[in-house]
Amino acid sequence: MQTSTLATALTIIISTAIVLCLSIAIIYFLFLYQRKRFRHQQELVEIREAFNQTLLQSKLAIQEQTLDHISKELHANFSHLVSLININLSEALPQIPVEQRENIIETKSLAKQLMSELKALSANLNTDHIIHIGFVKALDNELSRLAKTKKYEIVIAKTGEEYRMLPEHEIILFRLCQEVLNNVVKYAKASKVSTSLTFSPDQFELTIADDGSGFDVEEALKRSGEKQSTGLLNIRKRAALINAEFNIASREGEGTLVSINIPRPEILKSLVL
């Protein structure tokens, strides 16, 4: 009886211990495997993000090169041609009958206007020029160009002591502003554009507001996926490149407010050009 009791007890203990060990082994394997896979997937995500970042940077570099090229072409060839037109008109002017001279003078004035527009456009496209004059001046020029059309009332407000940021950051920031202003011209039907720049060591804040027709932001983001239009998404991605927070607030009929915040901007103490 004693032996049978001991044997039964041993059987229960051993079988329980074996099953317990097996259970622990299964659970350990499950967690280990899952952890490895989790790490692997995280690495994949990181690689994909790094790749996208590089791709975006290359795209931006190519874009800058193209804009640079166009800018130089505008400055060298187109401006030269307009100058030649102007010179030819000046030479032709004395030989033209008096009653037609007014038309020629008008054409000369238009050619001059075209020349200054070309110069301004060329300057805004030229990366080196933007780096040279700085983001704030470049944005001022861009807004002045808008004001010259006489379609928009432009308001600019600056707070804090102005500073320069990393040149590549300033270029991206300026291109973002150009994209936003381009959208205002294309879609907003606005009559007033207000821009405010706030400089503080901890944060750089830029807002561009218009009093146009506005739009449903969520709807636009949804549609951008359907229509494969990547404007808003691209702006967001570019903003992320310089660690900027990009926000749009808009409602139909109530205008649009775009804000770009750069927390802890990389301020340049001196700019070597």
């Binding site: 059987t11 329980t16 099953v19 097996l22 259970s23 967690f31 952890r35 989790f38």
Partner: protein, 227 residues
């Protein structure tokens, strides 16, 4: 009431807490499997309390005087619990073949459980047949769920997923206590002293399972779970 302080009743603490925390699965509208698990935890608690108080005073309350034997409560719970768990696993497992197999097997197992309860072993003897036929499918279903987790393409943080904790508790308890519970009927008849010696094994893993219940209801279901 002093008896409640014994080691064998320690599991009531995590069970009570998990029953309380499980209520959030209803007001936070967690998916169906989680709510069913919450029902399982609440039913477990009610069963334990009913069995405890039956022995204490309910058996001779009012105008009746029944036997102190509370096995009829535990035996009934074996089949109810199996039924709930089969529904839960039916909902969380994705493999179509397993989904096809579960309903007829569930019908057979629940029918056998009722038959054992009413006719074969009766309500007042511990239904060891039902225990075996309940434990084995639960162990298999837990393993199938683990297999599904291993094949899962989405990222699931295991230690934050309630279903993982719940399945872990169920798996360890059912797998480890199975050898002892298989022998329990035999021990009760032949060497009842020995069965009492080994009861702490069951109590320990019951405590572990209830702790897993508690942890699971302290987590939040991940969006990807279940499909």
């Amino acid at each position: 009431m002093q008896r409640l302080l014994k080691y064998e009743y320690l599991f009531l603490v995590p069970l009570l807490l998990s029953a309380i925390f499980s209520l959030k699965s209803f007001w936070q509208k967690w998916p169906k499997p989680y709510r069913l698990l919450s029902i399982l935890v609440i039913v477990s608690l009610l069963t334990e309390l009913a069995a405890f108080f039956w022995r204490l005073f309910i058996h001779k309350m009012f105008f009746w005087d029944y036997s102190k034997n509370n096995f009829w409560i535990y035996n009934l719970f074996i089949t109810i619990r199996l039924g709930i768990l089969l529904v839960v696993f039916y909902l969380i497992l994705d493999a179509p073949r397993i989904k096809r197999i579960i309903p007829p097997v569930a019908f057979m197992l629940v029918s056998f459980g009722l038959l054992d309860y009413l006719i074969i072993q009766g309500p007042f003897q511990y239904n060891t047949y039902s225990v075996i036929f309940a434990h084995i499918p639960i162990i298999v279903l837990c393993l199938l769920y683990f297999k599904q987790l291993l094949q899962e393409t989405r990222i699931i943080v295991l230690h934050k997923e309630p279903l993982v904790w719940m399945t872990l508790g169920l798996f360890v308890y059912h797998a480890v206590s199975l050898p002892f519970l298989i022998m329990l009927g035999f021990l009760n008849m032949q060497q009842s002293d020995l069965s009492l010696v080994f009861l702490p094994i069951n109590d320990t893993f019951n405590l572990l399972m209830c702790t897993c219940y508690l942890i699971s209801f302290l987590c939040k279901p991940q969006l990807s779970q279940p499909h």
